[in-house]
Amino acid sequence: MSDYILKTNQLSKKYKNKMAVDKVSMSIKSGSIYGFIGQNGAGKSTLIRLITGLAYPTDGTFELFEKKSGQELIATRKRIGTIIEGPALYPQMTAVENLEAHRLLKGIPGKEGIIKTLEIVNLQDTGRIKVKNFSLGMKQRLGLAIALLGDPEFLILDEPINGLDPMGVVEIRELLKKLNHEYGITILISSHILSELHLLATHYGIIHNGELIEQLSAKELNEKCQLYIHIKVDDLNKATAVIETQLATRAFEVMPDGTLKLFAFTDTPGKVSKILTDAGLIIEEFMPMGEDLETYFSHLIGGVKNG
């Protein structure tokens, strides 16, 4: 059995003259949480729609649970739970009725799973309240409950934390971690809240203008996210001269706000501060820092570093 739940090979989708997805080759390992990152219109949702069978590729192939095409591929989608561009709910029904409709659709025997799933997302007490009267956060959680119905092996969640309040975001994050750690569910999650993805994902795929520009593990990302020392002193010119002469490095960047980013000596910040102080400089700010996912993403798509 393959280690991969999903593999795409040069997968492409063209709408009129625009390549919405352009030769994307990505792979999602079993047991991973794959953070799918991209700007609005980058091609995330289109790729998810291709995988879930809502749209058809113009070119390329993909394997889902090692199934490539035909009825077998369609049937493998029973092993998937999805939220695609918002939760799919019947507003006139209650939470239980919504789950019942989806239980019948998926052909899941027995109604026991419905209450269990509602408990997981903390909606077990909604009773006769119709979904049209739910808050956005409740709708998102019900959408997640529907995706979880039938114990799927693979969750595809397109912007699942949209509209949630901070507590709701934390709840969903913890829930997804639990599903991944305790039940071994593989998760593909797209979100524009990169700080959240950074707390969750074990792997990342970065898509831009339809192209997958990078695919890396969380470990690789952490290694790539450059550590630096953020420095603010009373005399910037003197500080750069001291660093160049006494620390013998040019691995720094002068920022427009008059601060310095020193990319060397990150493991010995004490030595740097001593040299600057000994040179008579007054240190106003001094902090070892690292790039976050947002900065890394911005640098990668060329939006910030050259700005």
């Binding site: 729609r49 879930t52 069978g53 809502l54 749209a55 058809y56 009825q71 369609i74 049937a75 493998t76 989608r77 029973k78 092993r79 998937i80 999805t82 695609i84 561009e85 918002g86 939760p87 799919a88 709910l89 019947y90 507003p91 006139q92 029904m93 009725e97 019942e100 409709a101 989806h102 019948l104 659709l105 998926k106 052909g107 529907i146």
Partner: protein
């Protein structure tokens, strides 16, 4: 396929438009003959005449127009709610999904179509007396044909509902289509001889023959039964093909 039909049936039972339309027609069944009863005095109509002139005559419009509203809310609204995405990505074959939807929508249409012929006949018998009921063979013959034509029109409605992704557009189009289709078809049949047999053998024309079923010969009767069955499958296959190819947004 069984689970898909169960799902669709579950949704139909919960559909507010279906419940409303059913209740509205039931209320009409009770109240409409009451007006006749109230106005009629000693000259109350015979139930068999009332069935022919008031119920079957009205039925032609009921079977075409009222289910058009249901089609918009029951089928097209799934696109707007996003539930069509979860259905299409549920791991079921799209042709089966379409036919499950069509079968249950047809059942809904047939239920709506049968309310007046069954309940209004019943209430009119209560109001006017049980002496002169329609002949059972005629009555059940017309009921059977209403079922067939209801399913045939449901198939046409489902075909358009799957093309339009908005319930308002679907309802507007279907109402306009069924209100005005007879006239252009008649003109087409008169002006272009090649279309005449097509129009004369269409459900749009033959539905008006239900009330004269007792006077039809063997071949005419066969045609009256066969055409809605063929229509149901032709539009069912066309609709399923469109749904199979359709990208769901």
């Amino acid at each position: 396929m069984g689970n898909l039909i169960k799902t669709e049936w579950y949704k139909l039972k919960k559909d507010r438009s279906f419940r409303f339309l059913t209740l509205m027609l039931l209320a009409l069944s009770v109240l409409f003959p009451l007006i006749e009863f109230d106005n009629g005095g000693p000259n109350l109509p015979l139930v068999k005449d009332y069935y022919l002139e008031s119920i079957l005559a009205t039925h032609n419009n009921i079977v075409k127009l009222i289910p058009s509203i249901l089609a918009g809310f029951y089928i097209s609204a799934e696109y707007a709610m996003g539930t069509m995405k979860s259905i299409a990505s549920s791991g079921n074959n799209r042709i089966k999904i379409y036919f499950a939807k069509l079968i249950v929508f047809s059942i809904g249409t047939v239920i709506i179509s049968l309310i007046l012929p069954i309940f209004m006949t019943g209430t009119s018998a209560i109001y006017f007396g049980f002496e002169e009921l329609p002949a059972w063979s005629f009555y059940f013959g017309t009921i059977g044909l209403i079922v067939l034509y209801g399913a045939a029109f449901a198939s046409i409605m489902a075909f358009f509902s799957i093309i339009f992704t908005d319930s308002g557009k679907t309802i507007g189009f279907l109402l306009m289509f069924f209100i005005f289709i007879d006239w252009p078809l008649q003109v087409l049949a008169a002006k272009v001889p090649i279309f005449e047999p097509v129009v004369n053998h269409s459900v749009f024309k033959l539905i008006y023959d239900i009330s004269i079923v007792s006077s039809l010969g063997g071949s005419e009767l066969f045609k009256l039964v066969l055409v809605p069955i063929v229509t149901f499958f032709v539009f069912g296959i066309l609709g399923s093909f469109i749904y199979l190819r359709k990208e769901i947004k």
